[in-house]
């Protein structure tokens, strides 16, 4: 299972890449494998304020429709509109072209409470 260093993870299998007050997030390789072929992504509107535990997107596969929660709080600055016509990008490249949205106004301590790549690898092994 691909778990790249430098990203932070949640127990619900979202990842986030922090860069100052902005952050990019998506779902992990484990999540996309578990969901199977992704057929649709319901993305938030730009400008929406989000907080940890709040739903930010819905990822729908042939098996299920799953809520995606934001790992950090902030305001949606950009969404990956490519996913509207090509949701399968998430299956192909969950940490790259398969990003879901970019947040701004992310607090400085947003990473606390999230797992590092090493911690997430152990978490997955323990599952």
């Amino acid at each position: 299972m691909n778990v790249p260093d430098g990203l932070l993870f949640t127990k619900e299998h979202e990842w986030v890449r922090l860069a100052g007050a902005t952050a990019v997030m998506g779902i992990s390789d484990h999540a996309q494998t578990a969901l199977g072929d992704i057929t649709y992504v319901d993305l938030p509107s730009v400008g929406k304020a989000v907080a940890p535990g709040g739903g930010v997107a819905v990822v729908e596969s042939v098996k299920a429709a799953s809520d995606v929660y934001t790992p950090v709080s902030g305001t949606v600055r950009a969404i990956n509109t490519e996913l509207r016509d090509h949701p399968e990008i998430i299956n192909q490249d969950p940490y790259g072209k398969g990003w879901l949205c970019e947040l701004e106004q992310v607090p400085a301590d947003a990473g606390s409470g999230l797992m590092t790549a090493a911690q997430y690898r152990s978490y997955l092994e323990a599952q």
């Binding site: 057929t39 649709y40 319901d42 509107s45 729908e60 596969s61 098996k63 299920a64 429709a65 809520d67």
Partner: protein, 447 residues
Amino acid sequence: MARMSYVAHVDADRAAMLRAIGVASEDELYAAIPAAVQQARLNLPEGQSEVEVEQLVRAMARRNRTDLLCFLGGGFYDHYVPAAVDAILSRGEVLTAYTPYQPEVAQGTLQAAFEFQSGICRLTDMEVANASLYEGGTALYEAIMMAVRTTERWRVLIDAGVSPIYRMMLRTYLANMPVTLEEVPSVNGVVDTAALQARLGKDVACVVVQYPNFFGCIEDHTALFAAAHAAGALAVMSVYPIALGILKTPGAMGADIVTGEGQSLGLPLCFGGPYLGFMATRKQYVRKMPGRIVGLTHDQQGRRGFVLTLQAREQHIRREKATSNICTNQNLCALAAAVYMALLGKEGVQEVAQYCADNASYAYSKLTAIAGVTRTFPATFFNEFCITLPGDARDVIGDLVDRGFAAGFPVGRYYAGLERVALVALTEMRTKEDIDRLAAALEAVVS
């Protein structure tokens, strides 16, 4: 009350069950229910034999006037139902009112629903339709909630020309929801476009109109829908499907969600149904659409097959986050509509629609030629129109019942100030002679 033979348990069963749960008697079982409530008795007669019940019901049925010449409409119309519709409906393979629970084994049922959806899409000129809803009013409610979900806005603007029965249902459904339904009075029997546009704003989810409206009037809503879109609202339309055979389509006007009552597509007039709701929309909104959708696909060997598609948004998967609580459809009635549309085809529906319009045009000229009977609204109509009578429409219509006519609907029942107005509907079932007879009878009654 006498024990009915269809109650499976005998006294010994009852005693065994009471013993098993440690209760001495039935009275003790019900002891938790307050005595005041327990003592309430339904005022029901003693049970009767089958033959007695049959005689009783037949006597009641005889009180119905089924001999009246029907000019009633108001959303439900007396169209011809080809015999093949009932013949196909009565086949054991399809005689279920319900969505199958293991749907893919019932390929014929799914194909019928697919054909129904295709027919609705062609009539409305929309991109996708669902496998049907309960009837026209609840379908309109679902359309409004779909607009609310899509826009995340809470105000709904509805023209008063939308069926008063539907608007009553909407008020009931929305009573405890954070949605505001704002009725905009009609002017001269049509939408008050200026008033409606003035109310548009950032919090309006949709504008709702009916086509033709309750008064029978038809108007082009293209400009209104464009204004709604410019304000970020959706355009919702309740339509009479037969009229779409010859009228400009909802798709061409820019409608986003189209619903309607499907009774006119092969279902007989019944007091209370079962009727048929339909819903169609644009592809971009399909995931917000409630109800089941049947899709066409191919299996691994390339063979054609039908499946229930986009189920992930439904409640058996998404639970409380489902698109709506509609997880079923009106399958047998939808099948009737599919058979009806297939039997008539595009040209057949056009012919029926033209026949209705021609009949209405003739009836309108005959009835408004009577002294004291005038046109109520200047707008164009399809198969139904309002006329203003010299007296209260309920009295005139009552007098015409005595002469063998269900001559129309008294509009004042739902619209204050229109007490002298009757709504008269024509279908392909009425002949020129029928219309001439109605005109003669009306003339005799009002003179």
